[in-house]
Symmetry: C2
Subunit: 492 residues, 2 copies
């Protein structure tokens, strides 16, 4: 393999192209350092894959074992009697280089290195990691080290431990420099109706890095939305160029960790990365149109909003609720987030007044239907009447009791108030955003939480995003609106 070419009279390093197909869709997969002990990475990873139902061929490698979890174990990757697409490696750091050499000899194109103890632990680790980079340059591309693997429901691949993640695919790709967040974000995102095309835990990024992944995912037809948790960036110029491209093609939602002094210190101990400066990153977000988030919740909310809201959701909103304070909170929150709550015309107000009680309701914008339990007919008429006027793009519904609680009227189940927003969305093709907070928060109240989640699932199945609070709904909606406005401005 000739790794050096000459271009314009200069020697140029040519990296082996990354075999992403083998990484995400391996048919034959060696787990080197596999163990019957699920307390160890090699055992936990293998157990996760088996429980998740990985359909390809699994080849555990461990010189001390002949069978692991009912699978034949090999002394060395060289002994596996067929070609191997992907090696996942969990041997101790000092043994790693030798194992990678064997993988190279076997012709394996890509390896996930779960092992930690590299640049995140200091100078000695940094040197070990440089050696990995050198091996990678010889033809085996490496994800990691210090990572948790890849989750790709379409191929049955999952991260460690990720056996409980959904089997269905979806439009969101997520890359995470943190192993912990590569697991907890998809777990928490499940209830928000987010499904993933691919999740990549990429750790210290000694070889394959955030730019390689971003470049691939921007072209990946299975991915419509990209989200990421980053600690460091290896090639700033390339990264900014890719984010600029993203502003034209797919939303990229980024949580950048380590932008404070204490955060930068933590980043160095975690993935051996350099944190960066808040001011520079602010400029990056501004110039590229990448969507900035600062927590797992914000990342999930924003990914949900992009999944469920079409580009026709706009800045002009009508918050509709069943309580006066909810109208006040909605108005304050929308205006602070840069959304518009246009005043309704006298004519529209007259029409709404005819539908609502004269006392306890509000027919301005925001609208208060006067009770958390309006009749389905009256809610339907109100939503229709507002949308018919054409002065708002999106409806935000809050403080209507869409799932039963101790104080629900007995007619609640019969009336099916919760079906009204779905009917309106489907018939009028207008975006609707729901807010369904957890109201009964104590241990006893968990039965109501079960009810609430069923209603959430129903909305998500019907394409309506559901948020836990008004503030979170408004923030996420505002991000989606801003992204599409910006994209329209670029591509016009």
């Amino acid at each position: 393999m000739n790794r050096i070419a000459v271009r314009a009279g200069q020697p140029v390093f040519i990296a082996t192209p990354i075999d992403f197909r083998s990484l995400f869709y391996p048919k034959s997969h060696a787990i080197i350092g596999a163990s019957p002990d699920t307390g160890k990475f090699g055992g936990k990873y293998l157990a996760s894959l088996i429980r998740f139902g990985y359909p390809g061929k699994l080849h555990p490698v461990n010189p001390q074992e002949s069978m692991i979890f009912g699978l034949k174990a090999y002394r060395s990757v060289a002994d596996i009697p067929e070609p191997v697409d992907l090696a996942t490696i969990a041997v101790p750091a000092p043994a790693l280089q030798g194992v990678l050499e064997q993988c190279l000899s076997k012709g394996i194109k890509v390896a996930q290195v779960l092992t930690s103890g590299f640049s995140e632990v200091g100078e000695e680790g940094r040197k070990l990691e440089e050696q990995l980079t050198m091996v990678a340059a010889r033809g085996i591309r490496i994800i990691g080290p210090n990572c948790f693997g890849v989750y790709c429901p379409a191929s049955g691949m999952t991260i460690m431990p990720g056996e409980e993640l959904p089997k269905e695919s979806g439009p969101v790709a997520y890359i995470s420099q943190s192993g912990g967040l590569s697991r907890s974000v998809p777990r928490r995102a499940t209830g928000s109706g987010i499904r993933f095309s691919k999740v990549v835990s990429y750790g210290n990024a000694c070889d394959i890095n955030e730019c390689d992944l971003l470049e691939y995912l921007l072209l990946d037809p299975e991915t419509k939305i990209i989200a990421g948790y980053l600690e460091g960036v290896k090639d700033g110029q390339r990264f900014v160029r890719l984010l600029q491209e993203a502003a034209r093609t797919k939303p990229v939602i980024l949580w950048k960790g380590g932008l404070t002094q204490a955060g930068a210190r933590a980043v160095q101990s975690h993935t051996g990365s350099l944190g960066g400066q808040e001011a520079i990153w602010e400029a990056v977000f501004k110039q590229t149109g990448a969507v900035r988030v600062n927590s797992a919740d914000e990342l999930i909310d924003t990914a949900m909003a992009f999944t469920y809201l079409a580009p026709n959701c706009g800045r002009r909103v009508s918050p509709v609720s069943g309580g006066g304070a909810a109208t006040v909170a909605a108005a304050d929150t929308c205006e602070r987030a840069g959304l518009q709550v246009p005043q309704f015309s006298p004519e529209l107000r007259r029409r709404l007044a005819a539908l609502l009680p004269p006392v306890g309701a509000s027919i301005r914008n925001p609208v208060d239907v006067g009770t958390p339990f309006p009749t389905p007919k009256s809610l339907q008429s109100v939503l229709e009447t507002i949308l018919a006027e054409g002065v708002v793009d999106t409806i935000i519904i809050s403080e209507l009791e869409m799932s039963a609680t101790t104080t629900s009227p007995t007619s609640w189940y019969r009336d099916k108030l919760f079906e009204v927003p779905v009917e309106i969305k489907e018939r009028l093709a207008k975006p609707i955003v729901m807010v369904l907070p957890v109201e009964a928060t104590d241990a006893d109240g968990v039965r109501f939480e079960g009810e609430r989640r069923k209603v959430c699932d129903y909305y998500l199945q019907k394409g309506i995003p559901v948020f836990l609070t008004l503030e979170r709904a408004v923030k996420a909606l505002a991000e989606v609106v801003s992204y599409y406005e910006r994209r329209d401005a670029i591509t016009e």
Copy 2:
């Protein structure tokens, strides 16, 4: 009753003192406009009181009924054969003045007016409301109109509908101009371990207003913390004076609605109040030391933090977690909120290094114990070692799996990792803050949510506040620290 006195040659209006005892602890309580129909305010309110177990005498008043919910009903308040401490009134707006006259004749000192349809509906309603104020000036003090009543667990009083609210009292008083929030905030606060001395829904505040309530609660020995949702303020000067007093005595947590243009419009339709200007309110918060919040979640988080954290919680924190990204997020979040994450001394780092694995952990501050499932012994040693050094005031624990999930090791229940923070807090008398996010968010995952809530309840019983996210924990902690720093500066 002579309501005008002459002072310094000038006539002065003397308001009848508010009989708060009769409002919060009525022994004999007339429900005027009571109804057997729980779809009506008068029926819903009475049903709530009965179900909540109100132990005093209940006298429904309704000329059309002889019995309501098994209680003798009277044609008029005049017919009740004993003195009445409190009247709760739910008759239609036009009938209200007559009813209040009857209450005056009966010698009733205070009335809650649930009826709506006053200044919040426009000019005509405003005039009707002025008439109420005139009646109040003759000796019956009024809460409302357009309100949901009072919740006072010690006396068995509850709001409408509030039968499911806790029976135990606690240190937090909460006043809400919104009826909806007078119900949803205490409901949601229950799972955060917040218990109330008194909750008052005070609606349009035609007579008893936020200043009267604040003045009373500042002196109320049952109240240690005051929280409020306000839309308008009737007497700005008095209000600011009271908040300045609060900075010396009790924390006052305020959510002021209607500070944007759209919000101010909504406030007018809701409680007939004037919204106010964001800049002026910012100055009020700055000058008085009242704690500003902008949502129900922030109000609840902050009230929980003040309930569970003593004045010795300080600005110097050590976030301890079981994952690298959690250390990064904690560091960034703390620094942005103005908390300090001091670097540990080489000596302390050496001592921590001896307790933790060489790879996958971090011994700087924040601390990563290397796994979400450390042994109880190792977590205990780490916390002891950090606190022994005396360089941090408060520990924030996140990303440790304190409640079981699908991926918990089988030893989880036996090991009782979740008991360690309690043991440390009790033995070393240092504040500990827990973060326990909802990880399994889908309908299936609700069984894990039940487990999580049980662990939350356990921590709250043991005096440890529990937050849903790191960001919320840090924000609330920072508010508590700032309040006590400010109070110390004033009182020194």
